[in-house]
């Protein structure tokens, strides 16, 4: 078995980073950033997701096949969101009845 075991220090640092990011995302929501508030909120959430996936879920020590499956899954999620939104954001552009 070539299993990689991380140190307790690594896990504690990741937890602290996650807690700090939670505080930041909560506080920044009360600041008026206009359109960018949702961008900032999602950017912080993606950072937290990466920390959990790479360290807690050991993706950084996983096989190439597992990494490929994870990336493939995220790709399909992006396709789902992008194609649906490309529909809903562009419906108003042309005067089609029953928009």
């Amino acid at each position: 078995m070539t299993e990689h075991i991380d140190s307790i220090r690594t896990y504690v640092l990741v937890l602290l980073a996650l807690l700090v990011l939670t505080a930041v995302t909560t506080l920044v929501a009360f600041v008026d950033l206009g359109e960018f508030s949702v961008v900032v909120a999602l950017a912080i959430a993606v950072c937290k997701m990466l920390l959990v996936a790479l360290f807690f879920m050991h993706v950084r020590h996983s096989t190439k096949l597992t990494k490929l499956v994870v990336l493939g899954g995220l790709l399909w999620l992006i396709i789902l969101l992008m194609l649906t939104l490309s529909d809903f954001t562009t419906r108003g552009w042309i005067g089609v009845p029953g928009r």
């Binding site: 939670t22 807690f56 096989t63 399909w76």
Partner: protein, 238 residues
Amino acid sequence: MLTTTARWSGRRSKLASEAQTHVETIALREQFDTEAQQKDASTLGMWIFLITEVMFFGGMFTAYTVYRRAYSDAFAVASSSLNVTIGAINTAVLLVSSFTMVMAVRAAQLGQRRTLILFLVLTLIFGGMFLGVKAYEWNEKFEQHHVPGPSFHMDGVPQQGHAQLFFSLYFAMTGLHAAHMVIGVGLLSWLIWMAHKGRFTAEYNTPVDIAGLYWHFVDIIWIFLFPLLYLIDRHLPK
């Protein structure tokens, strides 16, 4: 004659030792070549399941995105009625439970049975705390008439239907997340029982590892739910 017998017995002992290398254990089933290969197969299988879960929740996140775009004013008011302090504290509780879970996986990898049980129990407690707080929040919604249905009412929203849509999504998404937490609590209870019986060793701890992946996945879903449900346009004057 003697030499032939010696050769035959030698061959037989060689065959016996070959047979021994294929003795089936829980860490190395017949169909796998090595323990590492079996572990990789289990991990990959779990990830493929988690990807189907991503798409399962993905449909709800897409519905949320479409309606938030369409009815952003009502969503902002409805979102701001949620208790942000409780939400943030609950997020922290869930993140700490993910930390205790990864510490349990680490203890299992090192074959430390007592530490493994300790961290599994801690994870169970934090998971239970999260569900308790969630139940309190839901109860509050019933008292405030913020549950979609005939008795729904929310001040400051001209179109009640738009706010109902927010709360429909709120209950569907947090409800589905809580259902996953309940399953996770069941998995943890089973793991604690198995660890208590001494089933997990440094050589074989795949169930702990796999359940850990599930627990962290449920954590990631909440990492997105928290800002999307609780933190829409908090800066606006209400």
